[in-house]
Symmetry: C2
Subunit: 345 residues, 2 copies
DNA sequence: TTGTAAGCGTTATCAC
DNA sequence: GTGATAACGCTTACAA
């Protein structure tokens, strides 16, 4: 049972018992030392334990810890599309907030697949996560409701779900659209095409689309909507082509519902040989390259880091006052306009 | 102890014991059912357990499971920069490979900070990960060596570390640079500037840089290198400006060591009013927007998904034959050229 | 085929 | 201050 000092040997992971022996103390004392109850230990005991632990390279086993105390120190996050830079940026905020609180983050990507979403949800639950940040792909209302009933705090990111009593953190979509429309009108565009992926499942898409239609009417603009999966490049290009070829003299502009739409639209416009600016282009979500595509693409930037941090903050608040009676709130952030050449007619 | 059916009640998570009672079976049988030893159970027993589990919404507690059996079902991944699309793409591959094997992935982002890297490493270890995919930021050789000695399989992604006997999965950097130089020469560029972040820590950066210098000499091209943190936009722009303003008649081109460098270089070239193609531009790493910046930026694409999957495959191979004597191997993938207008003089 | 019982490494509850 | 000791939910010999 003696530890071997040869380099090639496989060392078992050190346990609390070995540290206790090495320090001439009991498991309890060592446990106390590592559970931030050091004050209760005598200085000499503290020193001995510290030395022993260091010598043995001891690290408490989180699995055992969570099994006993119910504290896994784990926050789960469900991301609908990890390859979306917006999601990653928010995740980065979540991550920072977790680290500041000594929590670890377990991220699962659902690739926008409801089946994977369900599985990952069950998985995270089985790892006893202490909170869940969810960017929903489908509508796993039942599963989420079950988790809520088990007392796991939940925060919905961006997309909200009707049936679940959880907080929602995200953009103030209505005001973002208003901002966009005001800008486009101010720049002289009078005929708009709104580009979005099908809005069935994702609530912000619905809100944005509805608001677009309302806003266009209110401002006296011509407005039209095109919804379709962005993968279908040809269809998209045709739709945009038709829009641009239509009779009429009002300056035309495209408004893209998110970063992916902006990417697809830019591709299509280039293929059609349109000149940006002359044909207006504006997108929600700021991306690295928006400034690089001549003459620069106007965007509405979301405060991604703040959104991520807010999500974790909600989670923690919920956990402290484990108060499931608190009405589900909405935390909305404002988008900020980054004007560029693509809306300078 | 009866479960309440009222919606507002907090249900405790169901345990194996409750399922056993409900099914009129023993814990062992239930355990067997969920450990893929169903064959050993009679059909009737299987049905009863299935029914009971379903009725109670039972899910095995992974924490407890790993505590006993040593099987956490967890793979850890350390990413140096989660906001780098290349890293995310590789991570996506890792994720898929894990899922196919019934493993969960725990991702930690180090933001290129060695201190965070050390912490995260310890953290992952404390969650008893069964394997580690590491995209190193610093040189945590000691920590990694310790993990190896504990018998945790390790794979280094992209960046390698001298002192650790672990496999390395990544691009064949030397051949990638060769490919780039051949292409640039074939397109008539005779005077090259290589752009990279400081290569101290990251081994692929060193390999690429060295090979660039060798290759340039071998091909009889004029070649120069500029290394600096990409944040310093002004310095970069000045360096590129100087390069372009130098006397000489050979067509000039920039070769960017990675996606971030390509982004920075493109920005600088636009600011300088250079015409892409006339001034050549080529980058390692394919990004969404490379086709959008007129007239398109030539890139070398890395097979990111394959790299990610290979990393997990290595891990598993290592685990099966828990054979630390196997010499550390290198798995190299080839880059593929995507020619665009930026290298069409 | 099924069940009993002994842990896995930790924390919580008592005693001293 | 400190230390036995009993859980936590599960797996795994070993019996039956």
């Amino acid at each position: 049972m003696r530890r071997d000092t040869m380099t090639t040997t496989t060392h078992q992971r050190t346990t609390i018992l070995e540290v206790a022996r090495e320090a001439g103390a009991s498991k309890t004392s060592v446990s106390r030392y590592f559970s931030d109850e050091r004050e209760r230990l005598s200085p000499s005991m503290q020193t001995r334990i510290a030395a022993a632990a260091r010598r043995l390279g001891y690290r408490p086993n989180q699995m055992a810890r969570s099994l006993k105390g119910g504290h896994s120190g784990l926050i789960g996050m469900l991301v609908a599309d990890i390859r979306n830079p917006f999601s990653v940026a928010v995740m980065h905020g979540v991550e920072q907030a977790c680290r500041e609180r000594g929590l670890s983050l377990m991220v699962c990507n659902t690739d926008n697949d409801p089946a994977q979403e369900r599985e990952h949800l069950a998985l995270l639950a089985s790892y006893q996560v202490e909170g869940l940040v969810i960017n929903a792909a489908g509508s796993p209302d039942r599963e989420l409701q079950a988790l809520v009933e088990e007392g796991i705090p939940l925060v919905l990111l961006d997309r909200e779900l009707s049936d679940v009593g959880a907080e929602v953190v995200g953009l103030d979509n209505a005001r973002a659209i208003d901002l966009a429309l005001d800008h486009l009108q101010a720049q002289g565009y009078g005929d708009l095409l709104y580009l979005s992926e099908p809005p069935e499942q994702a609530s912000p898409r619905q809100v944005r689309l509805t608001r677009f239609l309302q806003g266009v009417a209110a401002l006296g603009l011509a407005g039209e909507v095109h919804c379709q999966p962005l993968m279908e490049r040809d269809a998209l290009q045709r739709a945009i082509g038709d829009f641009l070829a239509r009779p009429g003299t009002l300056p035309r502009a495209l408004l893209c519902a998110n970063g992916n739409a902006t990417l697809a639209a830019t591709r299509a416009l280039q293929a059609l040989g349109a000149r940006l600016g002359e044909t207006g282009l504006m997108g929600i979500d700021e991306l690295d390259w928006c400034e690089l595509v001549t003459p620069g693409i106007t965007t509405l930037a979301q405060p991604t880091a703040a959104i991520g941090r807010a999500a974790v903050a909600c989670l923690m608040r919920r956990r402290e006052a484990d108060d499931r009676t608190t009405p589900a709130r909405r935390v909305h952030f404002q988008a900020s306009l980054i004007p560029r050449g693509s809306t300078r007619g």
